[in-house]
Every structure is written in C-alpha cells, then in structure tokens.
C-alpha cells in the first residue's frame, strides 16, 4: 500500500492519537487500537518536526507549510520540501495524520 502525499491537500492530526509536548518534544501517544501499540513504539518529533506538527492546524496545505518553513529555516526550499514530504508520508503511513476532508 502506498501513501501518496499531495502538496495541495490539507493534513491534520489523526483523531486516533494525542500529541503531548514534554520537555520540548512532541510525543504522539496512540489513543486507539492499531497505532503503535502493537510495536511498543512511541512517536516523537524533534524541534523542527514540532514546528511542522503545529502547522497541521487544518488551514494550511502541505505546500503552504513548506513555504512557511522556508521562511523559518535556513535551508534550500527543495530540501525542506523533500523532508516535509518524507515526514508527512511517514506520519500518514502510521495513521498519525489524515487528509482533511474538503467540505
């Protein structure tokens, strides 16, 4: 199964997880069955990942998030885009984020 990330889409945190901020790290705690618990894993996002997670507020598309991150981080936009798409793909695969349904 592939998880295609679409830059024009809006992604939001899944309702099946709870994000906790502890000591500057975002810890994503599985709430429902099938997320992480079988693997005994916890998901954590570092400082830059945390900035990305906080932008998943249901308003910005992935492309807009890349642009916004470009203003905050001193790195080529192409590099930021690659990292963000990679991270979003990972999070989507693990059901930690979902695509926001357009009304």
């Amino acid at each position: 199964m592939t998880f295609k990330i679409k830059p024009e889409e809006i992604y939001v945190p899944s309702g099946d997880v709870v994000a906790r901020e502890i000591e500057g790290e975002i810890i994503i705690v599985p709430l429902s069955a099938g997320i992480g618990d079988a693997e005994d894993d916890l998901f954590s996002l570092n400082e830059t990942g945390r900035v990305f997670w906080k932008m998943l507020n249901g308003e910005k598309t992935l492309a807009q998030i890349v642009k916004a991150l470009g203003k905050q981080f001193d790195a080529p936009l192409a590099r930021i885009e690659k990292d963000v798409v990679g991270l979003a793909g990972e999070l989507l695969k693990r059901r930690l984020i979902v695509e926001k349904k357009r009304s």
Binding site: V18, A19, R20, I22, E23, E25, I27, V29, P30, L31, S32, A33, D37, E39, D40, D41, L42, F43, S44, L45, N46, E47, T48, G49, F52, L69, F73, A75, R79, I80, D83, V84, G86, L87, E90, L91, R94
Partner: protein
C-alpha cells in the same frame, strides 16, 4: 534542515526517559482508584469490602481525578497505572479510563480479572492499555479461594483471564508467594510463564496494611513465608536465582562500596513517580503513609507536592543509633524489604529496625554468597 524531522523509537529506548530523570520529572504515577475489592485476600495491604460505603464515599470523584490528571500533564507525566483495590469496582471506571487515554496518558491496569466483562473487553480493544497485570493466587479452586476467601472467585477469575488472553491483550501474570499457596507455587509459576506476555515475577515479601488494621496485619504476618522458605523458593527458581547471581554486586555491597549517611531514603521514591490514594493523598510511593510525608490533593496542587514536599521528605534523616548501625550502613539493604515506608507500617517509625525483614535479608545473602562460591568453584574446576 540537516536534522531529521522525526523519529520513531521503541518505548524502552526512548531518549526522553534519561532527560526526564535528570530533570526530576514525574513521568509515571500510580492512581489507586479504590481501596475496595471484590476479593478478601488475607495478605492484602489495602483491601476493604466491595460494599464499604464509607470507603466509596471518600473516593476521588471523576472531576477530581480529571483535575489531578491535568496537573500531572503539566508536570510532564506520561504513564498512569490504574490500580486499587480492584479498579473495575468503580462504577465510573470506563469514564476515568477513557478520560486518561484522551488526555494522552499511556495507561496500565492492575486487576484481579474477576469482574471483567465483554463490555470491558470492547473498551480495552478500542482503546488499548499499555499492559494489564493480573495476579494468579492459585491454579486450583482450593488454593485460589483459600487466598481470596471468596467462594466462586476461581471460576470468575478463569473467565476474566480467558477473556484477556483470547483477545490478545498484553497481559503480564504475577504471583504472591504465601503460606496459603506455597505448595502450589511451582504450578502457578509454570502457568504464568506459559501465558504471560513477557516475564513472570513472584513476590515473597509482604508488608503490612496502610490502614494499620491490627487484625488484618495479623493475617498478613500469618501469610509471610519463613526466611528459609523464601530462600528455598528463590533457589528453586532458575530465572530468579540467575538474576540474583548476575547482579550480586548490586545486592551485596563490598566493604566501602556503600555510601554511608544519615538519610532515611536510599530508594528511588519520589525521583520519577508518585502514588495517589483513592481519597487523593499524594505519596512518594504507595507504601509511604507517614503523616509528614503525604498531602491531600483535594487541598494542594500536585506541583506543590512534587516540588516542595518530595525534596523535603527525601532529605529526612535519622540519628537513631540502631538505624544507623543496622540499616543505613547495611551492605545487604538491597536484599531487604526494609525501607522507611515499610518500617513505618511495621512499627510506626520511619527509622525502625524490622526483625523479620532483617532475618530474610541475611538468609538471602548467605544463600547468594554460597551459590556464588559454588559457581566460582565449578568454574575453576573446569
């Protein structure tokens, strides 16, 4: 963006644990939802009858638990153990469990499994706990009910445990080693090892009750194994014996290897976790009930307890010569059930020497030293 944005880490290897320890953040806590229990085990340090109205009335309400949970989140707590008594006796167990999950806690559950229903299974399947621990008091009806003193309890225990195992929950089985079940302990151990999620542990050390009930304390003393029986059990359990031998240096300090001071607390109580009683009393660990060491979270904020009370308690010292001579400088203190909390339950003083604990510790140490000597001898012959 040179750093990786995110990482997925196995829980045990989570780098945050070390940071939380360094900063003295309470990453876990035990929440005793009730002291009431459907069983009446003679060795139990907390159980009150399931229908004890006064006990029920004194329990924290859902809103009070929720408020304390919010305060724990502010302090950085991540892990909550729901225990009792029997937590499933709470009529609002479902609400409390779900509330804690939705706040972002990893939730573990201690239960005797007797009250488990399909409805619990449904909830736990949808919102899985981190793990569930169940004590196996016996593997025959006679032994199980001799310990629990509740006719019919073995059948409902079997039903509850089946539900948990059939639905593939991460269930850890454990046992208490008691006068009432000592003959069956090998069979209990075999049963637990067959069904437990990872490791099986048994506990032969019984401390006295939190409420100081004299009659019930006599029941506990009556269930305590003799030092010889404890050692024989540990010697007969390959896993336990191997562990003790492997970590011998931790259990028996070499001369000069033990830091000597007058502080009462040498354990980790209050370093990374705490316990909350059914009525809302904050303690550094579940056994520490000395009035100078607790505070009522109905009147105090959790942060106040954690930041002010805990350091004050951990700094308590004693100049009692018997404590300093026999306990504080004791090289086998890690083989002993002695701690200030258990000493208080035993004799009403945090620095009291406890004869039974001391006898057990010395017998264990002698046995451990003898087995180390035998192991060395065998090695040199080879």
């Amino acid at each position: 963006m040179k750093k990786k944005l995110a990482g997925v880490t196995p829980l045990a290897k989570f780098s945050l644990w070390e940071r939380l320890k360094e900063k003295r953040i309470p990453f876990s806590f035990d929440l005793e939802l009730t002291a009431r229990c459907n069983l009446d085990c003679s060795h139990c340090y907390i159980n009150l009858p399931a229908n004890d109205r006064a006990a029920q009335k004194s329990e924290l309400t859902f809103d009070q638990v929720s408020r304390i949970a919010d305060q724990a989140i502010k302090l950085g707590s991540l892990w909550c153990l729901l225990t009792g008594g029997e937590p499933l006796l709470r009529e609002d167990f479902f609400d409390i469990y779900l509330m804690l999950k939705k706040k972002g806690f990893l939730v573990s559950l201690f239960t005797n499994a007797c009250l488990l229903t399909e409805k619990h299974v449904e909830l736990l399947k949808k919102y899985p706990p981190r793990d569930i621990e169940v004590t196996v008091y016996g593997v025959t009806r006679e032994t199980y009910e001799k310990v629990t003193r509740r006719p019919g309890s073995f059948a409902v225990f079997g039903h509850g445990l089946d539900l948990l195992l059939k639905n593939n929950f991460r269930v850890r089985l454990k046992a208490m080693a008691l006068k009432s079940n000592i003959d069956e302990l090998p069979a209990i151990a075999a049963f637990c090892r067959q069904h437990t999620a990872d490791f099986f542990r048994f506990d032969p050390l019984l401390h006295l009750r939190f409420d100081g009930n004299k009659k019930r304390n006599e029941d506990i003393r009556g269930e305590r194994l003799s030092p010889g029986e404890i050692v024989a059990l540990e010697r007969g359990d390959t896993e336990r014996a191997g562990f003790l031998q492997k970590h011998c240096d931790h259990f028996i300090f070499s001369p000069g290897g033990h830091h000597e001071c007058q502080h009462l607390f040498y354990c980790g109580a209050g370093n990374s976790g705490f316990t909350i009683s059914p009525e809302g009393y904050f303690r550094l660990c579940s056994s520490l009930w000395h009035p100078d060491c607790i505070c009522d979270l109905k009147n105090y904020d959790l942060a106040e307890a954690w930041n002010n009370l805990v350091p004050r308690v951990r700094n308590l010292a004693s100049s009692d010569p018997e404590f300093l001579e026999k306990c504080r400088s004791c090289p086998i203190v890690n083989l002993c059930l002695w701690c200030p909390a258990h000493a208080y339950l035993e004799h009403g003083r945090l620095d009291a020497w406890c004869e039974y604990f001391c006898q057990v510790a010395h017998t264990r140490a002698e046995n451990l030293q003898a087995s180390m000597f035998r192991a060395k001898k065998t090695k040199s012959i080879k």
